[in-house]
Symmetry: C2
Subunit: 236 residues, 2 copies
């Protein structure tokens, strides 16, 4: 589906990576984009595929994940409106690192790999933001390797809940996570089973640390949860 250049320009201008670009550059990019729609569950990119486009997510939500040979899912993140999908292969020409599936209806403005590389080369502020985005990925993946290598499954679940809570915290000692994370997603994020997540969250609720709060989850005592996450909880 190809939209008018004007519509496309408005969609692109909202992406943080493209902030402050000149109107000329935005118009040029818009003319190079192909607008694509994906239905929920549809593949946007596939692990180990080569080449291809960078998708700028204009609307909807994309699940970045991998299924292992045994069917176990490893969840990396959800990319929201304004984020990008498929950039690694476009920049270095290597294979796709993960699968990406639409979690909702998705509208993307898709750029061919050479056009994305030209954008980085010709717009220093975009490249600088892209470097910071890659550094953010390296930092969070490094922390995840450390947690997977050294923490037991209980403490990995506690650490992940803590991270989600801190992302929404207003500085007080409690935080509401909205919507509440799905148990299967937490499991795919920390490398365990859904059953183990359900067991640990029930245990935290019995200790008064978690409460159901409409469609959200209230963490009542962030400091106590942090103490627990750093403390005992055997490897599994």
């Amino acid at each position: 589906m190809v939209a008018s250049v004007q519509m496309s320009t408005l969609g692109l201008a909202r992406a943080p990576l493209l902030a402050d670009l000149s109107q000329d550059r935005l118009n040029d990019l818009a003319g190079r984009c192909t607008w694509r729609r994906f239905e929920p569950g549809q593949a946007i990119v596939s692990r180990n595929a080569t080449g291809g486009e960078v998708h700028l997510i204009v609307d909807g939500r994309v699940r970045i994940h991998v299924y292992a040979a045994d069917g176990r899912e490893v969840l990396f993140t959800h990319v929201q409106e304004g984020g990008i999908v498929g950039d690694f292969a476009a920049v270095d020409g290597g294979p796709r690192t993960t699968d990406a599936h639409a979690s909702s209806r998705v509208l993307s403005a898709s750029l061919r790999a050479p056009d994305f590389r030209t954008l980085l080369r010709e717009e220093p502020r975009v490249e600088e933001r892209y470097v910071r985005y890659l550094l953010g990925l390296v930092r969070s993946l490094t922390d995840r390797v450390i947690e997977l290598s050294t923490l037991g499954v209980q403490n990995r679940i506690r650490s992940e809940v803590l991270r989600l809570a801190r992302g929404t915290s207003n500085g007080s000692n409690s935080a509401q996570i909205m919507p509440a994370p799905r148990h299967a997603d937490l499991a795919a994020q920390v490398g365990t089973t859904r059953e183990q997540v359900t067991r640990e969250l029930s245990s935290l609720a019995r200790q008064g640390l978690l409460e159901k709060d409409g469609s959200g989850m209230l963490v009542t005592d962030l400091r106590r949860l942090e103490e627990l996450a750093c403390g005992s909880g055997g490897r599994a």
Copy 2:
């Protein structure tokens, strides 16, 4: 220790990140570097410290790793001559992600953070190489998260031996890893104990897949090892 600008320029010119820079730029960089020596075991950067320098490793070998609260080591990589250490914090101003210790006597040319950021901004080819280097890190950390989340400890050990062997393979079905990896390093790389590594390598040797070869390790059948690494081997 401060060396002459001429010595410093020669050291810098050998770093892949700085390949093809003009003599003027190399001279300017050399004038901004402080040469530092580190003794084996000495800390070069420390996890969670802030600010600071980027170390260009001119001679020696640096261990990039973290010790968890329980004393367990997580090993990320060894940086060799020509590589850089401490760049993440210099570029985005965040805390250090890992510890870095000298594994041998190390000589570094150290740049202040603002000078490293200026280099990236003013030398597009350096920034392009830096982006590819970060993408390489993102790719290998992603694979490591997938392995830690989905493979049992036996298969993680087999996969790591396979990766080391492939790095030295000449295209045939056997490969010599030189020097043989230390069991403690393999353990710190795949998130297990030294004892478990010793047990699994002995088992592979009994199956005729590994042979001691002077100070190296000979992998006799890469295809068979790959089949094993993808096959059974319970999670631990």
